[in-house]
């Protein structure tokens, strides 16, 4: 009967190892799939990837040389294997008397922009992270607040109004709201510069550049979170333990703010973890609209350039982010909800 208060550290460790192993398998699958897409599909479509790397007046010999250097002539398994090896021990590309070193962790090397991918990722990751986190703070604040208020004033004008606005927010394409907000607040009224400035250059400039993307992105998500919060809060308010809390003589702010919120936040945190993870790779539209030099922008450019190594790198980093975020959420969940046991 008497189980321990929570899973012990050993259980947590075992759980972590199991999850990390699953994550690794997952990443391998993702790598395989991405390789398949970019090497097998073009071949099927009759396009030689090597021709993407040569210029206007390229001759067949140059194309062949590029193919050699990039290892495009190797079987796909060999290419995948090389990629894996590169992740751990680094990798050397050579051809035509030129040697290019790519240190571990080598996520590949872009021959279009002559860069190792890892620095690109580490350079752009903070921008995307800042975008996602900043927006998350906003949407949590406003979305959850609006959701709670709607739940507490269920059926009121505020509730109906807020929920229709929220539904509207969910129904708007982000590039549409993004452009509108740029046109209005940046170009039109000139309130906000709306231009990305690196944080190390100027905090205020950075903040000014991030505010529109944050708000735009947060608007979409705040709408979703408001809806979820409202529904969850309503469900929680119907729970017996809320009635118990009242029966104890707790004041309403404590009942709502402590007892009800604690339960309401659990699914919200789950969502938050997944959304943050997804945003790290999925902020393509936002970053494009606002010209933010993040991962999404890099990958969109890479897709139009067919710069496979960058696409592969970003896809991996993103999947990793989603997996890590999910893992964190699961761990956090175990902390928040004592009923959850790590298994």
């Amino acid at each position: 009967m008497a189980r321990g208060p929570a899973a012990g550290p050993r259980a947590v460790l075992a759980y972590l190892i199991r999850r990390l192993f699953a994550a690794a398998v997952m990443l391998v699958v993702i790598i395989l799939v991405v390789f398949g897409i970019f090497f097998l599909v073009p071949r099927w479509a009759g396009v030689d990837p090597a021709t993407m790397f040569v210029g206007k007046q390229a001759d067949p010999a140059a194309i062949e040389a590029v193919r050699q250097k990039l290892g495009l002539a190797d079987p796909i398994f060999a290419q995948v294997w090389e990629f894996f090896r590169g992740l751990f021990v680094g990798r050397t590309y050579s051809g035509g008397g030129d040697v290019t070193e790519c240190a571990a962790p080598c996520f590949g090397y872009s021959f279009r922009s002559e860069q190792a991918i890892w620095p690109v990722l580490t350079d752009r990751f903070p921008v995307t992270l800042a975008l996602a986190l900043g927006a998350a703070v906003l949407w949590l604040l406003f979305g959850v607040a609006a959701g709670v208020l709607s739940a507490l004033k269920r059926g009121s004008l505020w509730d109906r109004g807020a929920m229709i606005v929220a539904l509207g927010g969910v129904s708007l394409p982000i590039y549409f709201t993004g452009l509108l907000s740029l046109a209005i607040f940046s170009y039109g009224l000139g309130w906000i510069d709306g231009q990305y400035v690196p944080l190390e250059e100027s905090f205020s400039g950075w903040f000014g550049g991030m505010i529109l993307p944050w708000v735009t992105l947060a608007f979409l998500y705040a709408a979703m979170y408001a809806r979820i919060t409202r529904a969850t809060m309503l469900e929680v308010l119907g729970e017996d333990y809320i009635r118990t809390a009242r029966a104890k003589g707790l004041t309403e702010p404590v009942v709502i703010g402590k007892h009800a919120m604690r339960s309401t936040m659990t699914p919200i945190l789950t969502m938050l973890g997944m959304d943050l993870g997804a945003l790290i790779g999925g902020a393509i539209l936002t970053e494009t609209t606002f010209s933010l030099p993040g991962l999404g922008q890099a990958v969109l450019k890479a897709i139009s350039d067919k710069d496979l190594p960058i696409i592969l790198g970003v896809t991996l980093i993103t999947s990793l982010a989603v997996i890590v975020a999910n893992l964190l959420v699961d761990l956090l969940y175990a902390v928040i909800d004592p009923r959850v046991r790590l298994s």
């Binding site: 993407m52 210029g55 390229a58 140059a62 194309i63 040389a65 030129d98 860069q115």
Partner: protein, 596 residues
């Protein structure tokens, strides 16, 4: 119905002409005082004030940061690998050549002037030997002198196409057409200077020995790909990330697709350089992904000019034309936008079917799709760009595309179809790059107008990043049935050779990376090109260019859309601004100055 429509059309055309005329006349007013460095309230020089003339030259001051913005990064900043026009233009900040384009406005800017060399080439009588002597005081960014061996090594790099792909290979084709040299990285000689065709008897002298004369050779040496590179600083494929500077500026930082900063090269001496004025202290480029955002930033004054020099996008163009006309120039780019008919795809093997399409096309609609007369350019009537000697502009209009037939001539088109044996029309496919919305728009326009003569077309938008692989492969073009390919072309250097050789010469039909999409293999044209390379007289060269152009047009291989023009933004801060034919109507970057 149709009469009404024509009337409407005409009215429209008249109105449009009036607008354009009004624009240009105001511009003339604005342009009138450009010598007095006047301009508008904002300080901008006025509409077209820098178009083929120098605006506000005297206002340029030393110092400041010149800020470029761009929606596109260079293909590579490596002098050997870059092929984008703006890269060649920009590379003059950090790279010098033996000879370079004249720092002059308009057509004069396309002429060659000495740079590292003390004078233009001493050419032997047979036109096969070019000798240059380097001037004194020319240095690398570390203060060491630039030698003839550095120049030779830089040129040799063109041969290393397997490592340094992407750039123009004219020098290789002219100096070593048989490709006997394998490039410096596979060079067995100790100094890696094994290229026989180039000799460096001493550090100051360099001699080029051409197997066959080529009258445009010096133009080729003026290309960025002929820049010197120092062997100990050659990082091979990574050279483009930080080229070693021989010019007035050097790389401080560069993150591809993000930003680039140049700072003064303190070892560069003004006295050693007759071309570069080097006004600003610092030059930055910021890369954008949203073209509208970019334009808006330009208009707001956050940046000085667009690096890519492709003109404002429609929204920015409208805003700028309405509110900031004094900041605009409307230069001719030197590009011709056109449709080309591969002869390998039936029925385009028949010249009458090709001509049917040319007659059937609504040229004005195509022009509108390109952006109209101002932002798109004049209706293209032939295939020689206005900046190339021998060009006749709209005066040569074999299909009366800009006059009688500008809205298409259905009757004539039907006649040609009959002559082709397809009186009821046919089906074909237009291939168009998916990353060029304007080209897609022209494809749609062509599709709509060809419908009227019974020619139904599918539009296949192919991946613009794979242009060489898809339409550059004649077998693929045939397989896919691309009867019409929409493309554009600008001269690498302003001559019929620099423009038309890869497009029209039978020798240039390649299995991969082909640009002779029409697969033209006419003895007459090939012969004219041969005689052109041997001809040293400019007037005669121009005449040959004219003949080639006529031959191409008579064959009906091409449907030119426009002689491209674009609307280019210059900030009010800029001084000493001018467009140059040397870089396809772009501003001459290297001599831009700031007012403050």
């Amino acid at each position: 119905m149709s009469t009404q429509r024509t009337t409407g059309r005409r009215k429209q055309a008249v109105a449009a002409a009036a607008v354009v005329a009004a624009l240009l006349s105001t511009a003339a007013c604005g342009g009138g005082n450009d010598d007095k460095d006047g301009g508008s309230k904002s300080g901008a020089a006025g509409f077209n004030a820098a178009n083929n003339k120098v605006a506000q030259a005297s206002l340029a001051k030393k110092g400041g940061t010149l800020k470029f913005a761009s929606a596109q990064d260079a293909d590579s900043w490596d002098t050997t690998r870059g092929y984008y026009g703006f890269m060649w233009n920009f590379s003059r900040y950090y790279s010098r050549q033996l000879v370079t384009n004249n720092a002059e406005a308009g057509a004069d800017g396309a002429k060659v002037t000495p740079d590292l060399a003390s004078s233009t080439a001493k050419i032997s009588d047979d036109g096969k030997t070019y000798t240059y002597t380097l001037r004194d005081g020319i240095t690398w960014e570390d203060g060491k002198p630039i030698t003839s061996k550095d120049v030779k090594y830089g040129i040799e790099r063109v041969w290393a196409q397997d490592v340094l792909s992407g750039g123009p290979i004219y020098l290789q084709q002219v100096l070593d057409p048989k490709k006997t040299y394998k490039g410096p990285y596979k060079d067995k000689s100790a100094d890696k200077l094994g290229l026989k065709a180039v000799e460096t008897p001493d550090d100051k002298t360099i001699v080029f020995k051409l197997p066959e004369a080529n009258s445009d050779f010096e133009e080729m040496l003026a290309l960025t790909s002929a820049s010197p590179v120092r062997q100990d600083k050659d990082t091979k494929s990574k050279y483009g990330l930080k080229p070693f500077s021989s010019g007035p500026y050097k790389f401080q930082s560069y993150t591809p697709n993000k930003n680039l900063t140049l700072v003064r090269n303190t070892e560069w001496k003004q006295s050693s350089d007759p071309v570069r004025k080097a006004y600003p202290d610092k030059i930055t480029i910021n890369f954008f992904t949203n073209a509208n955002d970019l334009d808006q930033r330009l208009i707001n004054g956050d940046y000085d000019l667009d690096l890519a020099q492709t003109g404002l996008s429609p929204q920015g163009r409208t805003t700028a034309l309405k509110q900031h006309k004094e900041n605009l120039d409307n230069p001719v780019s030197g590009y011709i936008r056109y449709a080309v008919f591969p002869q390998s795809v039936k029925p385009f093997d028949n010249e009458h079917c090709r001509k049917a399409v040319i007659y059937g096309a609504d040229h004005e609609s195509l022009q509108t799709a390109r952006g109209g007369p101002v932002a798109g350019g004049d209706i293209g009537t032939n295939m020689l760009p206005p900046s190339v000697p021998g060009s006749e502009g709209q005066k040569y209009d074999p299909y009366e595309s800009a006059t009688t037939n500008k809205n298409g001539n259905v009757a004539k088109a039907k006649e040609e179809l009959k002559a082709c044996g397809k009186p009821n029309g046919f089906k074909t496919t237009i291939a168009v790059r998916n990353n060029k919305p304007v080209e897609v728009a022209t494809a749609e326009s062509l599709q709509a107008s060809l419908k009227k003569i019974g020619v139904t077309v599918d539009i296949d938008q192919f991946d613009g990043a794979q242009t060489t692989g898809i339409i550059g492969s004649p077998s693929n073009v045939k397989k896919k049935g691309y009867g019409i390919i929409i493309m554009g072309w600008g001269p690498d250097f302003p001559s019929v050779q620099g423009y038309g050789l890869p497009l029209w010469s039978g020798d240039y039909i390649l299995e991969s990376g082909n640009n002779n999409f029409a697969l033209i293999k006419e003895k007459a044209i090939d012969g004219l090109f041969k005689s052109y390379t041997k001809e040293l007289d400019d007037a005669k060269k121009a005449d040959i260019a004219k003949q080639i152009n006529h031959k191409v047009m008579e064959g009906g291989y091409y449907l030119p859309f426009v002689f491209e023009k674009f609307i280019n933004w210059r900030s009010s801060r800029l001084a000493n601004v001018y467009t140059t034919d040397g870089y396809s109507g772009q501003y001459d970057f290297v001599n831009l100055g700031l007012k403050k």
